[in-house]
Symmetry: D3
Subunit: 322 residues, 6 copies
């Protein structure tokens, strides 16, 4: 694994090509800027004097065998390539072996979400959620929750939805005025539009549809279609409320919601979405920082640098709970 090596070391390794950009040196000699990854992290390497064949071979999604010298460039690790070739079939050439993915397995995600469905006791919302999760199961459990920033990995969409659903359970336990069914349904469906806004789990980018409509409106369209299939009245309060939760989940107009939360569960959903995505984003960023230091500035967290305490707070907490 990448994170077992350090600067100055010479080693051989299989890695997945995440991106490959053809560039030229200032003297017009072509090279490829490779971003290589396994589950422990990612690293950059330049393939100098790249031939046309190299450009054709070394593309995103391919696994390569490398012999490298680990170096550093502008205070980030970098590989000096001494040998490179495509991995063959007898080698570990399956890309899924190298991808960062949800910390919970797809099977586990499905199992936990299926269990949660029983807590959506309102039959309208329950059937809409089941209808959609069935139709979009392939994408729902494979897509990331974003192109980058947070939960940007295979399974991120379902993992993020599940995390919010768990928060929803906890919050509706503490506040009896909150309707658990509605909040759960909203939690599981809020980002369903991302299955069309994004291109997929690998080399994720925005689709044309995604850029012209946005995942919030696409999500609303998916819910409307489910209601029509199920013969539910679009003007019923149940449908208006569920749609309102999805439409308002970015909380403010300037964040892309066409309507702000105007109902208690809609407000709470928007806040839980914000809470989970930021906890994930801050944790990921702080984990790259050494103890006692501040991370790089996190643009999506008010551009603040976050402190990683000297003491491992999570560890200490665990011990203390014993």
């Amino acid at each position: 694994m990448l994170n077992e090596h350090k600067k100055g070391e010479n080693y051989s390794i299989y890695l997945l090509i995440k991106s490959a950009e053809k560039r030229m040196t200032s003297k017009s000699s072509p090279y490829i800027r490779l971003t290589l990854t396994d589950r422990s992290g990612e690293i950059q390497a330049n393939l100098w004097d790249a031939s046309e064949e190299d450009v054709a071979n070394y593309v995103p999604g391919k696994v390569v065998y490398l012999n490298v010298l680990q170096d550093e460039y502008q205070s980030k690790p970098q590989l000096k390539i001494q040998e490179i070739r495509l991995a063959n079939e007898t080698e570990p050439s399956d890309p899924s072996l190298y991808e960062i993915s949800s910390p919970v397995s797809k099977k586990e995600l499905q199992s936990q979400i299926n269990d949660l469905l029983f807590q959506i006791t309102n039959p309208t919302w329950n059937r809409v959620v089941r209808n959609i999760l069935n139709k979009y199961a392939d994408k729902y459990y494979e897509y990331p929750a974003a192109e980058k920033i947070h939960h940007a990995y295979r399974g991120g969409l379902a993992f993020h939805s599940l995390s919010i659903a768990k928060l929803a359970l906890a919050v509706s336990d503490l506040y009896p005025q909150i309707n658990r069914s509605l909040l759960l349904a909203g939690a599981l469906l809020h980002d369903i539009g991302k299955t069309k806004e994004l291109s997929g789990p690998v080399g994720t980018e925005y689709t044309t549809e995604g850029q012209l409509l946005g995942h919030i409106v696409i999500g609303d369209e998916i819910i409307v279609q489910a209601a029509e299939e199920l013969g539910f009245d679009l003007n019923s309060e149940d449908m208006l409320l569920l749609r309102h939760l999805i439409l308002s989940h970015h909380n403010k107009l300037e964040f892309g919601s066409p309507i702000q939360p105007r109902e208690l569960e809609a407000f709470v959903l928007s806040k839980l979405d914000d809470l989970d995505s930021h906890i994930q984003l801050i944790t990921t960023t702080v984990n790259k920082t050494s103890a006692g230091n501040f991370s790089e500035k996190i643009f999506a967290a008010d551009n603040q640098a976050y402190y990683r305490p000297k003491t491992d707070l999570s560890e200490k907490s665990d011990q203390n709970d014993d």
Copy 2:
């Protein structure tokens, strides 16, 4: 007509009750604050010592006969009521005689819009527009374009849409890179969601659906349904572009568009909508001001007071054109 009378005059008149609010004096005596209107304007009057019967009779939508003394309260005209009774059937008691409505008749609106449809030469957009205008004809030609602020009168929605469509023709003549069909289709449909967001032409208020979904998302839903009825592919570029125009026509996220304009015709539509609504708003407000003075501040026009020139600029302009 109201605008033929002035302060100090005693006269009899038929007027439509636009609003009637039951209030109490500081000494707890009940009275009704009436807003009365005919096509030339509106005025306020207090009906003192109102009985329960008065409260039951004098409600919005009723035409009343009045004998009044015109006075002024806080520098606005006000009527002192000397006699009031409901108009009977032999009198001009039809509310539509008193309502401010579109400066163009419903028939004329329909005729002009039908003519414009032939300029939408793209068959997809043409059929979607025809499908929707047929289905929503009743409301499209009767609804106002807003609860208040601009085009807030019977027929305002169609009149506003037609005005933008005419601007669209002029602009696409001047800029060949603009697609006339797309811009026209967008102009005619951009506010179609208001037929469900608003309650109707009289006593207009927001519906629950309007407040929870907003007219932009409702309009998108109407277009999606039309496409499904017509068997058009929702993923075709034609449909994506038309939906994008409707979704982005408020121009900025903070004005309620879930997506900003990302296509030329979408950008132009959003600007023509803004232009027409402000010209109408400024004109209406300035017309209430005497020449050589500044109007009240117009909140929706950056909270500026607008100047009414001493010279009647429109008149002079007309003469000069001869």
Copy 3:
């Protein structure tokens, strides 16, 4: 109780005077604008032709006996006073019988918070919290959490702190990277400065100290003093982190935090504070609205009106849990 009566009814009742403002009619006759309250709500009444003695007697904090006719003024309920006198000692004249207060009793608040202290396993934070809660117990369990807006009632400060502490437990269960001790300590102490910023549970207003320093800085000062008493090093990470949580709990500089959250638990605390205060605020406001309608606009919730669903969502939810 006030909420058992309606418009048109004549009845006798004991109420607490919450505010009494001497005014004059436009004809210079003095009267007192009274705001009267019991645990079920509050109402206004004007005491006409008020004598100097009336002005001296009917002051905030006094309980009065009234015979009234319930009326309405500008669509809000109002009482016409037919008889008024101070309640005497044989009557229910203890103000605390009429005050809205925390939904949980003081004793219960103390008990629950004391239990939570055992979950703060870090000894530094545990001792700081205990030191402060001991010293400030009188005020901590009596003060409101705000002058108005949310938790503005006797015991509101402790109730709000406890609610956040419960959220903190739930969230730290779901995210192992969060330190439960730190988050709990922050939850319990975050608003401790309000014990000096506000004047007390009755007729709450800002103190001079509160207006010149603000509760965030006062809270930090209280923690620094506790650390000094306990002999803790102010430069230790434990102390820096705890102070950082209090200082940053308004999340953004423009909301009065001198520093934004730059540590995970600090971020989470700021979000839980925001979540609990808004749930309380929205619930209180929506509860005043009839089903199927929108509430008045809530300034502190982005100036949105909130919808009260026709179906009682909380009730249905409860049933379903059985």
Copy 4:
């Protein structure tokens, strides 16, 4: 022409030097970064190992003969220079042959604008416009409308003014309350201050005067001087209105207008200026994008990327109009 060649091709060409920046390689070897242009576009090239003589010769405004190999650097076309020399007098060495300029010839611009003057029927405004266009004719028909962003080419100022004037005609036809004379006069003069704010059509930059006063105040000064020459009363309504149109044409204070529009024609002018400049900017940017893709983000258009539809909308539109 540049746009007839592609990557990998070897060819000879005459080009105009638009900018020439002396730089050093990381190893301190001097080179010149050239931006070269003809009417079909522009391209970059590095002249390696540049001598002092090269630095002296190859300066903006010179035409050069080149033999080149067309390559690509960071996904943009770039020329590898194989031979370079200044064009001599027997060759096409006149810079005006290579400059991008107004799509309408200077003569045509003058002719169209002169025709428009007859539609300014108010004698005051007519004479002020004629006085200024006569005095500033040299610069008015040669200057760009901006240093960069939109209409940044020879003749851009007059072309932009003419476009707005045509919009002004169309809009005043549709809205009779708009004074055509005033709007036309404002359209033609609104950016007159740019003749002093900018340095000229080639190598355009801001003058010191432009940076310390701004084109809006300079434009006002030009109008005041014209009025004084013509003996018009500066306090007449005609002069106040014309000056107000120029002063307020950036619409908002934060865009540099010292006063916001407070008169109908002033409001309309500001919106037409905004409309024309954005249509030009979006069109230019989208034209650089291939069909079915999004352009680079346009900072001055809310930082949005614009979509170039797969179907050529303008072409189809034209056909359909037949």
Copy 5:
């Protein structure tokens, strides 16, 4: 003097009518809302059952004799009028005896400003300032500096200019890099446009010219005219800098400057203007507050309430200086 009387007192007094607004009671009986003033303050009074003659007589600018009972309305002092008549010529009927005006006499203002002119050693700036102060002397020493808010009294313009000029002297003494001549010239001329933007020292309102052009552009026009009279080159650095100081003195575009400060003295002038106007505004507001309390919120000072310390800080300071 007004400030010698208090609530409950019956007394006779001469006062100047500052404003007189005709109103009606809710029962349509006419009355006049008078604002009455002398140099010690101002107070309101309602003249009930006002006749047409009263309306004609009691207008702003007139001095009246009153017999009154001092009362309070909504916690502000108010007079109950027992007798009122116009002051006759044998009485103190000269309005200037009652007006709040500059704390320094007109003569003293002129003398101090004339002395300062000698410190403008640059001949261009010196002559421009002298030219303008001579031409506008009548208005410069009589006009207020604003319609309301700060220095809103006769002589306020000159007093405010003089205060800034004194600050300018002090600051240029402390920072040798600051040019005293330029800063002084800017200080004395920065608000010269107010002589046309405002209507005059009594019943001050904005002129049409003021609303359509604004005092910044008018001030620039006055300087340009002075330069033309004196034969100075408008393109000289001296003239550009002086104009830049006037144009940029509101510091930010959103405050109405068409250009932001881009030169050191321009920056300093904008800050000294801000400092002096706020010190005057805060002082005036705090002086109306009793010791140990907070003033009303001051909109133009970030909407903060200001504290008046219990100890008289200014007094103590003076003693300590002995």
Copy 6:
């Protein structure tokens, strides 16, 4: 001195290493990017093919002997190193000989500030200031006022405080309502928290404490501790006011003050701080610009470029004062 040499010159010089960053060329050859400084300015140089020993030797804080050729890179001066070695003890190897520092010597700063203390005639404030300046003397006279931007040099904190104190004297002379003692005390202490927020005069960076608490809260803590040592009542008006001045000196919440100025002297202090820091910042930036040109844009001065007049305004001013 560095500023005595120019491009193309070959010379020997002693310089202090301000920063040394290890980098790699695109071909992975290591080099050191050095920033070298003496009191006349700073310059960059790359040490190519750097050995591990070089990396160990050439670190910030070391003085080096160099033989260089002065060149230019991207229009900034750069040194080509021909020889480099550490300065030995017989050479001028004391870093303090090369550092930019306060324009006033430490001794002079102490002397002037000590003199000013006598003008703080209020005994509470006088003793608090003396207590703190005594305890923090080492840091107060050595620390910079900022990490970068303004007064970012040894002694900058005291120099900046002294400059504001001098402004405070001048302003309190002009406005008798201002308390000189309070304003002076605030001026001298306002940035005292920087002694803990910053790491020191060399290689200045933010401490962990600085990043988690901020200098405003730290400064407040320092004052509270001084008051406790001196036995002053924290609730006395004197202490509340002094703390308020420190807490509010950033003027607005979004600039990090937990409370906005709500007292006259607090407002004035915040404005004088702003004025002095900007004059210093603009002057430093403009001094790097040649006459008749605009500086680089200054982010902290509204991102404006500042003009350096052709005429030396400061010089002329000085002459004129004779």
